[in-house]
Symmetry: none
Subunit: 134 residues, 2 copies
DNA sequence: TGAAAGTTAACGAAAAGTGTTTAAGTCCCG
DNA sequence: CGGGACTTAAACACTTTTCGTTAACTTTCA
């Protein structure tokens, strides 16, 4: 039984950072270079990103594939597509038009350029109407 | 830019498992021993555990542990419990009864079945009265 | 009880992650 | 411009994780 993803070193740096210390100050405290503090902090953030992604995967496990939004689709057409597909399988989506777009932007910002979807987006849905974008 | 914590192999096994296949059946499909499938599945679960713990740490970075809502609690009793605990440490929760329940449902929908909490939920609170559910 | 499902332990090889250093780089502000 | 804060890349020693095998063990249940 081990701890979380973060090493002692990484948690140490994050805690000091939260207190508002600069990388140089932290470097002095823990006796290393500021470059090292930077890489430690960076890998901590990377680990946090991976932890989030891991749980997202877990959610998609009990979600079913709903549809795929093709690259090039206008962002404002996405909700209609999703509502339509969800209706076909008798699931009520738990988001309205606006919050659906926000949720998509939030979780796949790199796939949304201006008003257009610039990557294929796979849409998953749970029985409860929760959405995930792959 | 890598993916989550889980390896391809681990996700593969979890997906088949979700479909209800036995370890032996999966072993046949991916051409290995059932013992190996067992260890892959086990380490996948371990990784998921660590991912959760990592995010818990993130919350505790600027929040303190308030209390734990035990599985089985009626959803409508949750606010009273939280308000009570927060009062003990002189923090005013920034949500009213209704929005607190909504917030919980939003962030831990899979832990709320109908009117009942079906998993233990760890509650964190910041000095500002913001809540997190672990 | 017997068979199928699942778990565990010990071990090895390959792969991935971590902390470090050094040296060069960007970015922003006064 | 100069300096402080931060980022990046390459290389290194080191540790941990992963996938795999074999063989024995426990659990479940018809």
């Amino acid at each position: 039984m081990k701890d979380g993803l973060l090493t002692e070193r990484q948690m140490e740096v994050l805690r000091y950072r939260k207190q508002g210390l600069t990388q140089q100050q932290i470097a002095d405290i823990i006796s290393t270079s500021k470059a090292n503090v930077c890489t430690i902090e960076k890998s901590a953030m990377e680990n946090i990103r991976r932890a989030k992604e891991t749980l997202e995967f877990l959610y998609t496990l009990d979600a079913t594939h709903l549809c795929t939004i093709p690259s090039g689709t206008d962002l404002f057409n996405v909700p209609a597509i999703i509502f339509g597909e969800a209706e076909k399988i008798n699931i009520k989506v738990k988001y309205d038009t606006i919050s659906l777009i926000n949720r998509l932007r939030e979780s796949r910002s790199e796939a949304c350029k201006a008003r257009v979807v610039c990557e294929d987006i796979i849409v998953y849905i749970t029985d409860q109407g929760e959405l995930y974008f792959g």
